[in-house]
Amino acid sequence: MRNLRTSSANTVKVTDEIPANCTYVAGSASLAPTSVNGKTITWEIPTMAALEKLTITYKVATDKNIFSTTLWRDELETDFFETWDVEILEGGEIWQQLDYGINNSRALHANEAKDTTDFAVYMLNPAEAVLLGNEPSIYFYHQYNTQNTLDGGYLMVSEDGQIWERLSDSDWSLNGPNSDLSYSTFVVPNLRGFSGNSNGFIPSVANLSKWAGKKVYFKFRFGTYDNLVSTQPGRLGWTLDNLEIINPIYYNTTACVTSGLGDNICLASKGKGTLIESNKIVSVTPKDKEIKFNVFPNPAKAIAYVNLFNGEQFEVMNIVDATGKNIYSTVLNQSNQQQIKINTSQFSKGIYFVEIKGKQESRKQKLVIQ
């Protein structure tokens, strides 16, 4: 709070509301409040000198029974190649799973190269949660340290894994894009994302309500331009950790300042306020409705087998190559469990995707031919 005047202000009064289900922690304020009355905390300041700056801090205790609800989570600890894939659009960098995460856990990392690069990491299958309930949102932790605007990254969302949509700034509830991203880097106009320095891991939350009732895929794209990088200390690039889909709950209230000189202004914290941490418990989806299959050996040479479970869900199996071309297709019968033998000796070496289509959904797995 600042008195931006050439003279002093008298009878300054600051009020703030304690959020519902919260209480003021007695004695925690940096300046003792004049009163704490119900949900209102008040400070009365007799005078503020010309240009005087005053900061008041205090603590609010919360209810342990109120929290955001987790619908899906991927802490990126298991081998990410089973559920994520990478794509290189330009340059020689690739997303990697490294011990760069929170508490040295595994995380996905994009390096800021002294070069022009453009590369992404995306989900092979949608996050296993239908977006339902209050404001279904993606919640993740990330750290970035890049050259402003020219080097940075952004998030995309898809309902089919083919067409990817960007989020607008207004979709973000907490720590949304902090920067424009250069047209030189991504060749996308009016692109917003993350660049500069986050100074460590920060949480970000974006509202996915426009996909309510659906499942979605996520894709993170990172790019760099020219041979310059961030000059700030710390790890260069963009690191992602602890992805979740949640129904968030926030604490935020409005504070007001009045004075004897007629000041009367009110405002709340930026964005949605303070997110209440999620419970990290994912309700179990009924297994009989999930498409389950495995591919072995993988990598394969002349022959690969695909084991299918829960056959009543299956309709078609396709194998597509890295360019998306369908090179093998077979109609699946409806028996409950089956094994399909594929002669892969005619396949050229490389990466393929085995896609099983069911009545309701489809799932992909990677198959490597050596």
Binding site: L4, R5, V12, Y58, K59, P203, Y251, A268, K270
Partner: protein
């Protein structure tokens, strides 16, 4: 021109240890404002049952 973008006389970067605490300032000189200005900040995330800072 800079004032329009929020980089006026009293704009500041905030703590180098956190983001989101930058102070925007849309006026040119304090004398031209002739009023009290303030902003409110709180922790980004709180664990249920724990206290957070405002």
């Amino acid at each position: 021109m800079f004032a329009k973008r929020g980089f006026g006389n009293a704009a500041s970067q905030g703590s180098s240890n956190s983001v989101g605490d930058e102070t925007e300032d849309y006026e040119s000189l304090p004398e031209c404002i002739n009023a009290i200005r303030f902003n409110k900040k709180a922790d980004f995330v709180v664990k249920p049952g724990e206290a957070f800072n405002v």
